[in-house]
């Protein structure tokens, strides 16, 4: 049995409300809140980045996998759009921080918001192939959204980390399926600070086409249908899209709700659907079936089916739950502080 043996998330304390951003741009906050299904978003502090959040999330994952000696972790793959360095990996720093070096393979992944599930997919494959005993797949981002762009209301920060292995599995991976096409709906070129996007083109021909294509392919491959699942998690660029795609596929709001963090978290890009999986595992029971479908612009979706095991009851409470981090210890900041934290204030030289 190969699957998840430990999981953890991390959410920074700072938050900014939609109203605070809308005020600066003279925008209509209620219509943004309604249109995006979003109240507020998380903001990283100046000393937080993809690496620090990955370490925090991985520490929580290790707490839930006390049997895993970090030295036995054979691979760390971090998916992000905001690796702090263009040249120099994030993975080695995380590996060093958790004591997993030097007998380990590291790589940083990038595929817009899908990069996190990419890392999970590869370590799952390596464990299944017997090449490594344990592997870490991480999705983390301090997401960028240009000032004044619709993305600024949602681009948030957070991380999720998953240890895959084949002993004391808490959620067995039953099936995977991926769905990719060349669809340029959202992009950021080298040396550009903020991503650009195709507006409404990011919806139907991009997000909806790939998620439905992946979910349908996955269910067909596994011989399952929506009612066979207790929970489902879709990528969450806003609060509305996951609910709409769920409805299109035949899932109920109840199946989606536990993993739907976006309304209070924002879009954590590579961390988005993986963090939804952590909050769903937090409330799941042995035997529950969970489907996860990510989405990354450019474009593609990775799909997974997990079955939760008895192990969940032993490890669930060993680390902070995702909803707890979302709902507690919050510190609201104003736009000026946000602009400073996010490096949006530049001096002439």
């Amino acid at each position: 049995m190969v699957g998840i043996v430990g999981y953890g998330a991390y959410i920074p304390r700072c938050r900014i409300k939609v109203e605070e951003i809308a005020k600066v741009w003279g925008a209509d906050a209620p219509s943004y809140k309604r249109g995006l299904g979003l109240q507020e978003k998380s903001v990283p502090q100046p000393d937080q980045d993809t690496i620090t959040m990955s370490v925090e999330a991985t520490k929580n994952a290790l707490k839930r996998a006390p049997h895993v000696d970090p030295k036995k972790i054979g691979a760390i793959y971090i998916g992000s759009e905001s690796h702090p360095y263009a040249v120099k990996p994030s993975g080695t720093t995380v590996a060093e921080a958790i004591g997993a070096t030097p007998d380990i393979h590291c790589a940083d992944y990038e595929f817009a918001c899908k990069a996190g599930t990419e890392g999970m997919f590869v370590v799952y494959g390596l464990v299944k192939a017997g090449l490594i005993e344990y592997g870490l797949g991480i999705g983390a981002d301090t997401s960028q959204g240009a000032p004044g762009d619709a993305l600024e209301y949602s681009a948030a920060a957070g991380a999720a980390s998953f240890i895959f292995g084949n002993d004391k599995v808490l959620a067995e991976c039953n099936e995977t399926f991926s769905f990719m096409t060349d669809t340029p709906d959202f992009w950021r070129r080298e040396h550009e600070f903020y991503p650009r996007h195709g507006g409404r083109f990011t919806g139907e021909p991009a997000y909806f086409k790939h998620i439905t294509g992946c979910a349908e392919g996955l269910m067909k491959k596994a011989g399952t249908e929506p009612k066979d699942f207790n929970y489902v998690i879709f990528h969450q660029p806003n609060g509305k899209f996951p609910q709409r795609v769920g409805k299109m596929l035949g899932f109920t709001p109840e199946q989606i709700e536990p993993g739907l963090l976006c309304p209070l978290l924002g879009n954590t890009y590579s961390g988005s659907s993986p963090m939804g999986l952590t909050s769903t595992l937090d409330i799941s029971k042995p035997g529950d079936k969970i489907m996860l479908v990510s989405y990354g612009s450019g474009a593609g979706s990775d799909g997974f089916i997990f079955t939760v095991t008895d192990r969940i009851n032993e490890v669930r409470d060993l680390a902070p739950k995702t909803r707890y981090m979302l709902d507690n210890n919050k510190r609201y900041i104003d736009y000026g502080t946000y602009a400073k934290y996010r490096g949006k204030i530049l001096t002439a030289d």
Binding site: D28, G35, G199, R200, F201
Partner: protein, 385 residues
Amino acid sequence: MREVCVIGVGMNKWGELWDKSIRDLFVESALLAIKDAGVDKIDSMYVGCMTSGLFVGQEHLASLLADYLGRTPISSTRVESACASGGAAVRCGFIEVASGMSDVVLVGGVEKMTDVSGDGATYALATAADQEYEVFHGATFPGLYALMAKRHMHEFGTTRDMLSAVAVKNHDNGSKNPLAQFQSKTTLEGVANAVMVADPLTLMDCSPITDGAACAILASVDKAREISKNPLVKILGVGNATDRIALHSRKSLTTLNATLEASKRAYEMAGKTPKDIDFAEVHDCFTIAEIMVTEDLGFFEKGKGGHAALEGKTALDGEKPINTSGGLKSKGHPVGATGVAQIVEVVKQLRGEAGERQLKNPKVGLTQNMGGSGGSAVVHILEVM
């Protein structure tokens, strides 16, 4: 002048058609119209398109479309009159057949609007206003029509609910049109409470950005009798007129003079009066536009257009059904295609092919297509033979 008939119409579903290019859109509807008409040879074609250069970077459109329709070396001409380009193309085809120069002419309209961002579309559309005296100073089309709406409210007591009633009615009609971009209904409150675009116009007072095309085949009555299996629909009257393009140059903000003049000419040519018109497709780019147009066409007294909408007089079962297709508001507004799509709807109604939204035995229909904030207008009057 020879008499001219519409012997075939063609249109596909409109909307955000991400996987269709401008040539796909046009050729698909042209083939439908050719098939509907049952013709194997067309003598010439006219294409209405407002700004394919700004929307998709393609000019020389008439030749491109003749090429992809497989009809080179046919004569093919693009016609531009902003949002009235489609109506103007129909008029050109009418003139060519009426003059005896051609027997069968394809008239079409097309616009591919979703390849640019919202800002890009706003910029492209604003080129239909007076760049130097309106647009450079910040005016956009919602802004210009909002000025007209405010003035109409001030002069005639037109209310928020009257504007909303136009959108509600057009969405009701559009919900019965399988080719419409939006087939959802709305309510007076839904329109009033939508996001504000330009006071008093909310998002639901505005027509959408749309990809689409529409085509029709025109023929002389003699030719039509020879080849057509459809009930013949004759174009009785055609009127085209212009107005001062910038709002500030006009004597009145509440009269669309180009529409008034174009309709006078069409009525005179057709030998009809507003009372003779059973139904009409009009240019509701904004809800206020439909109210003003129904007044300027002589359907309702000036200042009473809003009341007529609110009282249901323009509904499918009203005394003067307006925009049975859903109008620009619900069917969509691919600017260059709109004027031709109005002809498509009138022909379908007159032939009794309008499905769920079919009127009871209509005989005479009118189309009114308008450019920019009303700087040009084309009116056609059609009768089933």
